[in-house]
């Protein structure tokens, strides 16, 4: 029988598409002993977590809480609660997560229409107006921050546009929440999900969701049961609401972690946090540009939180990423789907979005590229980043 030793993960700097590095205070929060899931002290922690989540989503939606699963469970929660078999749904696809939403919606019995943009590009309001007019869907789903391409979808007008056509707007904010502005109420978003392991710098395992009163009405008008018992909002909300009616056992330690992570967001303040993410992205971008590395998404549509960049010609994807991990403990992500082998995905999210990480990553990348005899001007990356910070 094999022997299992002490858990001793090597130190890492997680600059991939997630999980991102977790703040030490969040790690410590998880080491706290457990309360029961109906303990009055835990109910208070739930209330605080919900209030902090509302602040972070910039919403007053009552139905705002973390689903007991990762970001993809949040996506499924939104879809299966809003959709009944036969309902029409439009999904905007410009990367892996739009594709995933299409799959989830089809499994929920939706009649799905997709509109597409090339990977790395975003959707224009005109395109969305056209499809809304033509299809008249119950729900339109779109990704705010496409983790597979680094594209940053503008959203200001979309909620009103959807409501003009009596559609609900469903938004993926997995890689945007607490990294770039997310304004659920002023953008008139009806259903939104996120993940804890990106810009919240909390371990993966929960998915914050929020539903507008309009979405809650749609859920209350359902004629069929939600196909998932585990993700059924009509039941789960009785536990996260005033009744405190048992549904499933809440993941206590993860809720501790999320509350601490949201507390850190609250202490920093959202505007300061957004500026920090922007500043570190600008420095990284300047450094990469000086090394001849360009972004997959167009200028003005690049996420500060997830930098998808083209792998330079003659440089090997796997060799570089393995060396970054083995020699520097730095993790970055490879490409998914259409972008496999063609792009790297460099996350600067939450606690990970720091000048130290930007500078060290550029320096380490230079060493890796040098070993592969890439044509680069030595020191140019770090120098350019430092000029950007100056």
């Amino acid at each position: 029988m094999a022997e299992f030793g002490q858990l001793k993960p090597s130190p890492r700097i997680l600059l991939g598409p997630g999980p991102s590095d977790v703040h030490p205070r969040v790690l410590l929060a998880m080491a706290n002993p457990l309360l029961g899931h109906l303990d009055p002290q835990f109910l208070e922690i739930m209330n605080e977590t919900q209030e902090l989540l509302r602040q972070t989503f910039r919403t007053s939606n009552r139905l705002t809480f973390p689903v007991s699963g990762t970001g993809s469970a949040g996506m499924e929660t939104c879809v299966v609660n809003l959709i009944e078999p036969g309902d029409k749904m439009v999904v905007c696809v410009n990367g892996v997560f739009g594709q995933r939403m299409t799959d989830v919606a089809q499994r929920a019995g939706a009649a799905v229409t997709t509109i597409e943009q090339p990977w790395g590009e975003v959707f224009e309001p005109g395109q969305i107006r056209d499809v809304l007019r033509k299809v008249r869907p119950k729900v339109l789903g779109i990704v705010h921050a496409e983790t597979s391409t680094g594209a940053w979808q503008p959203l200001e007008e979309l909620g009103k546009l959807c409501h003009e056509f009596d559609a609900l707007l469903l938004l993926d904010t997995v890689t945007s929440l607490a990294g770039v502005p997310v304004e659920i109420d002023s953008w008139a978003v009806d259903a939104v999900y996120s993940g804890t392991q990106k810009c919240l710098s909390c371990p993966p395992g929960l998915s914050p969701v929020s539903f507008s009163p309009r979405a809650v009405e749609a859920i209350n008008r359902r004629k069929t049961k939600v196909q998932s018992w585990y993700l059924d909002m009509t039941m789960v909300q009785r536990y996260w609401g005033e009744e405190r009616f048992y549904h499933h056992t809440a993941p206590i330690s993860m809720v501790y972690a999320l509350r601490e992570a949201l507390g850190l967001v609250h202490e920093e303040g959202l505007p300061a946090r957004w500026s920090r993410h922007l500043r570190n992205y600008q420095a990284l971008k300047a450094g990469l540009a000086a090394m001849g590395i360009s972004y997959a998404a167009s200028e003005g549509q690049q996420l500060p939180t997830l930098n998808a960049v083209r792998i330079p010609a003659g440089v090997d994807d796997a060799t570089t990423r393995k060396r970054l991990l083995a020699e520097f403990g730095i993790e970055i992500g490879g490409g998914l789907g259409d972008f496999k082998g063609k792009v790297w995905r460099i996350g600067l999210m939450g606690y990970g979005s720091r000048p130290n990480n930007v500078l060290l990553f550029l320096a380490a990348l230079e060493q890796c590229l040098l070993a592969q005899k890439a044509q680069i001007e030595l020191g140019a990356g770090v120098a350019a980043a430092n000029r950007a910070y100056a």
Copy 2:
């Protein structure tokens, strides 16, 4: 804007139906910094966790791993992967969790037949043979340890019986795994799920599952997609299997916790662990009997892990549980459904199944009953427990 202070949960002794007290080594495991979900070191931790889970389930099933959700997500995983719309399923209902399985199966489109036993009682092989013969279902679902009633279902013959009628046996081991014998291979169980927050003494948030080759074949023969994307074994197994193909981001910290919790099971050894649970149950039972408190389940069918006992006449449920929590930090559970206000549920699970907890609980309960002028012989409970330990 409200201020959110330091997280400071009061010390608790969790003797309810779960979550149970988490071993300190498991709490510390969660404070480790994160690895990426495709980091070679994390893949090794996944392998170890799977190997430890197989040992704990006593199975050689390849498809054995923790689902990224709580026990109820494990139930839903088993059902939605085995069932296609229109498939026949029999569910054995003698408490809340059989009822829940019925609801989950109906949402998955199963044609469900239920057989029932009164709460606190178990099913006889004859009953099950009759329904198998009559219905010829694809799947028969049954609960090993009914957390709502404390009833302990015998299982030795059921796997063979199901296979005689070409049915798959689906088993709920949420409150039994690592507390009482669970023998997936020798009982010929085809699909099983459990929870981490009971006898594994790990926080809630993961659900260990295992599928026999026969169950895997049934999944591979499906004509329709699994209705849940998040819980689709045909996809998730590509991440937990050799391919390591990205599906959703694994809950890293919870996997650390589970590995440590399973390591503790491995160190203690299953037979020693089962004996320990039995011994502490016997002492608790002797103590409660001396205080005039009897079990909801029949003699010989009582779970050592979850003691559902009748609230003595004249004693108030809520008053007693509130006092136990406020004065002694002890949490026990109230009754669910038919048993609401009628029974207490006292968990002695994993790390929580200790003589200290038994003795302290009996002493504290005596004080609570005394305050309500219940007719008890002072000191009798603790004395009887100590005689049982002697």
